[in-house]
């Protein structure tokens, strides 16, 4: 509980003082440009087109807010340190690791999770391609893989399988479904898989 004690630190106009837990409480006068808030704080998240009003501690990651507060369990927690990619979501159309971002930082952002990828009952082409090519085994990494694959369609990436492997390198699959994942992503890009040399030259 010693760490939670710091949650009591609030804005104060007093000079630097040591709190009961030895923590230094900073006066807001030192940061006139910044607006002090206490936790939990109101956070508005726009996820898959729906606005949610939450009260969150600033330390709640976007990943935890999605899973624990919005019950969007499709986004997975793997390493929780930005190393595995299971938590990949789109923020304003770009793929990011939701575990390395605080929810409070995303108040004006358009967030898309795996639950928001299909439109009008139609699977996203990357979702369909993962089914077509059996791009998974246990499925734990799959949401992140698909979110990465979907974002990749708009990124400047070369045509080869090697290019896809590089572009998907932030998503780890412990089952080792990689070859099928590459084939799935290539199908969604309308590139035949097995392409090993650049078609641009």
């Amino acid at each position: 509980m010693a760490q939670l004690g710091a949650a009591g630190v609030i804005a104060t106009a007093a000079p630097l003082t040591h709190g009961a837990d030895g923590f230094v409480e900073a006066p807001t006068a030192d940061a006139p440009a910044a607006e002090a808030v206490v936790d939990p704080v109101p956070v508005t998240l726009r996820v898959n087109g729906v606005e949610h009003h939450l009260m969150l501690e600033p330390r709640v990651t976007l990943l935890d807010a999605l899973r624990e507060r919005l019950n969007l369990f499709g986004t997975k927690k793997g390493c929780d340190h930005g190393q595995c990619g299971a938590c990949t979501v789109h923020v304003n159309g770009r793929r990011v690791n939701s575990c390395l971002s605080f929810a409070v930082m995303h108040q004006m952002d358009e967030i898309t999770t795996i639950e928001g990828l299909a439109k009008d009952g139609e699977l996203h082409p990357v979702q369909q391609a993962f089914l077509d090519h059996d791009g998974f085994q246990c499925g734990y990494c799959t949401s992140g893989q698909i979110m990465s694959g979907a974002a990749l369609l708009k990124e400047p990436i070369g045509p080869t399988d090697h290019d896809v492997r590089a572009a998907m390198s932030g998503n780890i699959c412990r089952c080792g479904a990689y070859s099928n994942i590459v084939a799935a992503v290539q199908q969604a890009r309308d590139w035949p898989s097995g392409r090993t040399r650049s078609a641009q030259s």
Binding site: Q3, A26, A31, R59, G82, R94
Partner: protein, 321 residues
């Protein structure tokens, strides 16, 4: 993770006290906060500041805002065309997701991947000055052979900064005392007896821009990164070379190394060997030997000396071919 107070900076005139941290992409800070390596009582989110643009400078160079994301900088047309080494270095770092988050200023300030630094169950002079350095006699395969001290041998993990070192970038910072420019070459500190101090920034200073000088006509550049995996791995050794060849001779060359030094490592020793000399392998090898002459291997990282030499020779061969 320790709780913290969260604020958003609205202007660059933000004064920080020692227990505060600026938050940009979060890829280093949030990670280290989860490990309790970083325990700020207050976090100032700077993402709303207008520092997210890449603009030409009047003298033909480039001004890169501190909040420009690594992926945007890597794919910027002018960076790809004229600062190839920087685009390549950025694209060799981290993963696409992380590059979408990580910023230019944050990348310069990213912290070491030393296992002992990242684990609070171990002593670490960088984390707790005076507590000791288990890396000296521990698992030190990833540690530095250049610039280390008996207090710290942690490598600087950035690829971007290595390329910027070879490009002779300038860091622009703003603090309570006003704005200043710091040549990247003078920005980083070797650990010595104060490994907790990694650069010359004052605690209240915020990086606002990085400027890149205009490359001389005919300049070519390349970044080569050698590592345990083909993607998504930190460098064991890397080389950034920016070179201008006239006829068959090297008129001007800048060489910087990653993965082997306690800071992004500019090698003026290697540059001195090459300038004015014909661009051929014998001279490249002499330059590589000069670069690594002062290297001090630890128990498990001696291979980095040869690896770095090979990286230098290979990169020079590729960029002058």
């Amino acid at each position: 993770m320790q709780a913290f107070r969260y604020t958003q900076a609205k202007t660059v005139d933000v004064a920080l006290d020692p227990g505060q941290r600026f938050l940009a992409g979060g890829t280093t800070l949030v990670d280290l906060m989860k490990l309790n390596v970083e325990t700020p009582h207050s976090v100032v989110d700077i993402n709303l500041l207008p520092l997210d643009r890449v603009e030409p400078t009047p003298d033909g160079g480039l001004k890169v805002g501190a909040l420009v994301r690594n992926s945007d900088l890597a794919n910027h047309a002018d960076v790809k065309a004229r600062y190839t080494v920087l685009s390549e270095a950025l694209l060799s770092g981290a993963s696409p997701q992380l590059r979408n988050m990580a910023t230019t200023g944050g990348n310069l300030l990213q912290r070491t991947r030393c296992y002992y630094y990242r684990d609070i169950n171990y002593a670490c002079n960088k984390r707790e000055p005076g507590s000791g350095c288990p890396a000296q006699d521990g698992f030190n395969r990833i540690h530095a052979v250049l610039g280390g001290s008996d207090q710290c041998v942690a490598t600087h993990p950035s690829d971007m900064a290595v390329a910027m070192m070879a490009l002779e970038a300038v860091v622009h910072a703003k603090g309570a005392k006003g704005e200043r420019q710091i040549a990247l070459e003078n920005f980083y500190l070797t650990p010595g007896t104060t490994p907790d101090k990694e650069n010359v920034l004052e605690p209240d200073e915020l990086i606002t821009y990085v400027t890149l000088p205009r490359p001389a006509a005919g300049t070519r550049s390349h970044y080569l990164k050698l590592r345990d995996r083909a993607q998504y791995e930190f460098a064991l050794a890397s080389a950034a070379v920016v070179v201008q060849v006239e006829g068959s001779r090297i008129r001007r060359v800048r060489i910087a190394l990653g993965g082997v030094g306690t800071k992004p490592w500019r090698s003026k020793e290697a540059e001195a060997v090459l300038e004015g000399k014909p661009a051929h392998t014998k001279n490249f090898e002499a330059a590589a030997a000069a670069a690594m002459r002062g290297a001090k291997p630890l128990k498990y990282n001696g291979f980095k000396i040869e690896l770095a030499k090979q990286a230098i020779v290979r990169t020079l061969s590729m960029v002058t071919a």
